[in-house]
Symmetry: C2
């Protein structure tokens, strides 16, 4: 904040933010109390309620704009368009169609896309994100019949679907995390030496990350190996099984139909349809060796592509300056092992710069139990966004003046 | 019913049962409407309600005894003691202690134990059951930490507990149902040639059994192989996983703690403690090969021993006659692949004859969805119990007279 580059306007905004910290926290409290979990069908009504809440709040801001009304009435440094979508964890079905439909309407005058839906790499140092992995989700269904059976009456004489499924799931990854599906690594972009060097300079505390995860030991021992395997190599995770007994206690059931759920985080230049074919062929091959009379079905209900941005884009420059102003240091330029499908969609559909600007610490546990945000990240992050809007306004204006000058030449 | 051995008393009872069929069905309707599922903790209050209902009904019967009051007031051919226990599917914790405690009190004058908690081998031919498999239930817990993780943030760099668990579960059984745990078949009673012949004479419709199960194909092709593998060889079934994602849809979670549930149906002369040790050692050996830093815990929360009775016992003779009278044919003498721990407990604690007298068809789907009983089985079964009580009274009296005569000699 004591940076010499801080403008009088920025100081005024930052003082406003500091003075209203408790209002901001109350607002956030009200929002996070809404159980808007799109994955649980029962809670989807809460996603809709969250939407209504957000809409009301934005409408209210549009009417009074107290937060950014800094003397010159309704004068914002940039114009905003908000897109709020609540089903990201459930695959955001229909979002891509909407973006395509609104490409020449709602989005026609949008120059920069900013998404704030991920975390920094460390607990303290801010980061800018320029890439994310894709995600291909798979369902493997094995069925022996229409009704569950009792293990006393049929145990030992039938091919149990859950045993078939477990063998299929066990064939996917070796104990070192290496995916066993033939061909899956074939089209991954080769790692260039200068790219490998880039990883070396990133500030990343392995022990901190390990503490955040709660696990005792990672598969890899060095920072570079860890980041490469999170960002630019694919991974496969098994999430669970639908249809089997899942409650506490014991139930001596042979489930008749079980569905294994797993997903592959893919990276450039893996192709979704090729990945799907490789998975299907591999599972069919493993299944056929078991001589099981059960029915096997493999499907890919969701598939999101990876995303990579150009870090020389103007928005990255503006964000870098804003971070320097508010946090007093340069951000790390990082990728994200997770998937933000909308980043890739905006890039593909609008052909405009897309940036991810996180304001959460690594330890905040996104998508997990006790997901949180620290007061520090929340308030400083709010200031950072204010500074970013001022910066991008300046840079954008400069770019257009330059462009105008060039045209005049 | 037209059998020449049917007595006037039996005819009177059977007519009463026929005339009151709809009352019996109404009674049963009221009982099965109670969701007394001991496995689901939420429904345990219903188990208690079921107990109260049964107690009320028995008290009411004790007061008026309309069902068997056939002219000679309160005169039953035998005395009854009922034991009603609702937690069998959840392991009947504490039952064995109660039986031991009541051995010289409540049970002191009980000569014959009859349990009716299983099914016939076919849909039409009645059966008497003289043995059941034991059941050893296992929990295999693998844990990486205290909180679930996101597959984008940690996928590819951690040893996922669910992958460890799946590998462990996959190591238990081969695709032909053969258990892979070293030593597990060592102490199984050898199959004698005369025993093998016994299996040949049993009426068992393989296709009917397959239709009841809903599966396309069994692991074995002959009646003998099927019955041997259901009754006198152990089997291992996997029931499910606690702690993993189990709902419809997708959740890109890496579960931090998962518990696999499986059980082994054991047969004479497998020893529960030896089985437990073999399972633990096998799982530890498989786990150690994975070099996983996760925590492994194996436990056997429930263990029930197998049971075998002597088919020459008086109660088996009485039941055979009663079945012949009511159903017009001799029963099959069968074993049961399921576990009725109380049969073994009565046998061990009381050292008295224990018999299982089922009145349900194979297709009734015990313990499964849409469990049912046909009106035919229910009404004929009720008659069969009446005839059985008369027969056992006669045979018991005869035995004591003979014994008295012998003493006098």
């Amino acid at each position: 904040m004591s940076s010499s580059s801080t403008s009088a306007l920025e100081i005024e905004i930052f003082q406003y933010i500091d003075a209203h910290q408790s209002d901001f926290i109350e607002n956030l409290k009200e929002w996070v109390a809404v159980e808007s979990d799109s994955v649980q069908p029962d809670l989807r009504k809460e996603v809709v309620r969250m939407m209504a809440l957000a809409a009301d709040r934005l409408a209210a801001l549009g009417a009074t704009v107290n937060l950014v009304n800094l003397g010159s009435h309704q004068a914002m440094p940039v114009n905003f368009r908000f897109i709020i979508e609540g089903m990201e964890e459930a695959g955001s079905l229909g979002l891509e169609n909407l973006l395509e439909k609104e490409n020449q309407c709602f989005f026609s005058d949008v120059d920069y896309f900013v998404i704030s839906d991920n975390l920094w790499l460390s607990n303290k140092k801010p980061a800018l994100t320029y890439g994310s992995r894709g995600n291909a989700c798979f369902f493997v269904e094995v069925e022996c019949g229409s009704k569950d059976l009792h293990s006393g009456t049929f145990g030992g004489i039938i091919h149990e679907p859950l045993m078939d499924l477990i063998a299929l799931l066990d064939s996917l990854v070796d104990p070192t995390g290496h995916i066993q599906i033939p061909g899956i690594y074939d089209s991954i972009a080769a790692l260039r030496e200068e790219e490998r060097k880039l990883y070396k300079s990133i500030e990343f505390d392995l022990d901190e990350h390990k503490n955040n995860s709660g696990v005792k030991k990672f598969i890899f021992g060095t920072k570079e190996e860890i980041l490469l395997h999170l960002w630019r190599y694919p991974s496969l995770s098994i999430h669970g099984i639908e249809g089997a007994f899942h409650e506490p206690g014991i139930k001596t059931v042979i489930p008749a139909k079980v569905i294994g759920k797993f997903s592959i985080r893919q990276v450039p230049h893996m192709d979704l349809l090729v990945v799907k074919q490789q998975v299907v062929e591999h599972l069919k091959a493993v299944f056929s060796k078991r001589n099981s009379p059960n029915k096997l079905k493999v499907s890919m209900p969701l598939g999101s592509k990876p995303w990579l941005a150009d870090v020389n884009d103007l928005s990255y420059k503006a964000a870098r300056r804003a971070i320097k102003t508010v946090f007093g240091e340069d951000p790390d330029f990082i990728r994200d092992g997770s998937t933000i499908p909308v980043a890739r969609m905006f890039q593909t559909i609008r052909q405009k710069s897309v940036m991810m600007l996180p304001i959460g610490a690594a330890e905040d546990g996104e998508h997990s139990q006790n997901e949180k945000i620290s007061k520090h990240s929340y308030i400083k992050g709010t200031k950072m966004f204010a500074a970013f809007f001022l910066e991008i306004s300046k840079l954008h204006q400069h770019l257009h003046e330059t462009s105008h000058t060039e045209t005049n030449n």
